[in-house]
């Protein structure tokens, strides 16, 4: 559950933001970052629908690459291990 996903902010409405990660769009709460200056196009680390912290674009992109590798490996291996 502690897995965080970096997302980029597309639009902001109060404490709610539309965010995107690799083509997937989600509503994210900025409530925990209300004391930080946050603008559209910023990158944030998101966990269970809440932005935990700001991060740089470069850091976000390298995390996306890592998640891609983990998910690809996980799907493949779970399929192989967990099928009847």
């Amino acid at each position: 559950m502690c897995l965080g996903i970096p997302m980029q902010i597309v639009s902001i409405d109060g404490y709610n933001a539309r965010c995107t990660a690799k083509g997937v769009m989600r509503e994210v709460s900025l409530f925990m970052l209300q004391d930080e200056p946050i603008v559209v196009d910023d990158f944030v680390m998101v966990h269970v629908g809440y932005a935990l912290q700001k991060m740089s674009e470069q850091e976000a992109r390298s995390t996306w690459e890592l998640l891609d590798e983990l998910l690809a490996a996980d799907n493949l291996e779970t399929d192989m291990q967990d099928s009847p």
């Binding site: 970052l33 269970v48 629908g49 850091e59 291996e77 291990q81 967990d82």
Partner: protein, 367 residues
Amino acid sequence: MSLTAQDWLSKIKSLPLTRSVRIMNVCGGHERSITMAGLRGALPQNVELIPGPGCPVCVCPEEDVYHAIQLALHAGVILVAFGDMLRVPVNAPKAEPRSLEQAKAAGADIRPVASPREAVRIAKENPQRQVVFFVAGFETTTAPVAAMLLEGIPDNLFLLLSCRLTWPAVAMLLESDKPGFDALIAPGHVATVMGPEEWTFVVERHAIPAAVAGFSPVSLLAATYSVLRQLLEDECFLDNCYPEVVRSGGNTTAQAQLRQAMHVSDANWRGIGTIPASGFALATCFEEHDARKKFPGFETEGRKRVGEMPPGCDCARVVLGKIYPNECKLFGTACTPRTPVGPCMVSDEGACRIWRASGVKSPTASY
């Protein structure tokens, strides 16, 4: 230029390490990256990476899961929970549902969610129903729940809270006769929220090297190198190998929200027992949303093995890093991701599930 995973491995291999070293991690995300990337097989044999208490679902009290099941079956509520909570087994009599998933199959209204915001949405969409959000999590999940409460929740939403702090379990191990590890890799996103300073006690009080790590092999290897070098040079400090999001002091807004919405209390850890000041309870101002107060008394008198792990299950020792998953006699035979016996085989953050899903059979073989 930044170092690659291969560079860090070379640096680790060049260290004049003559003894074996056990490095504990306390985060399911770390264990997942370590296992998926095959780091154990790549490191020198005398460097052991031990999965410790890093899975909130695994230590969620059996009584709480049972309570949630009974609420869903008998109180007419909509029970919402994070998905990996649904398959956690309890010690109910054979004829009764033994997990939320089985209770759902028996007709209970149980809905998996991925965010506290979904719990709020479901409560708003069902104003005539009572909705109970059963939530187990560490600080990374608890802080968003606090934010959810302070943003305002509908009157018909109640919380069955089984949230825990991460560091007290490590403190408990370090204060025991046999901690079982020589160095610590501290959890990256817990430190993002709470600040890395929470972990200085490991270094200052116990003289155990520690480094906060992120979830990439590079960050995990950098942290491994850091703690090994601290050991060799006999100079401990808390290193931060995840500066991308871990900043001095952490997210102070989130910490203030946590203090406003909750207070720290003694808490029971499944298979481990009570750890002082290791859990979160709702603050007085949110008492009317406390499912424990709204729906008390769902424990069945005389129920067998209350609070315990299932028979034959060694999850408690796996959680504490006393044994590796493959050392449990049920691992991969009676207990698999498809037919889990203990909580460590259920949760995506459980070491048993992570190892089994990756085909890991022993700590020395990467695959």
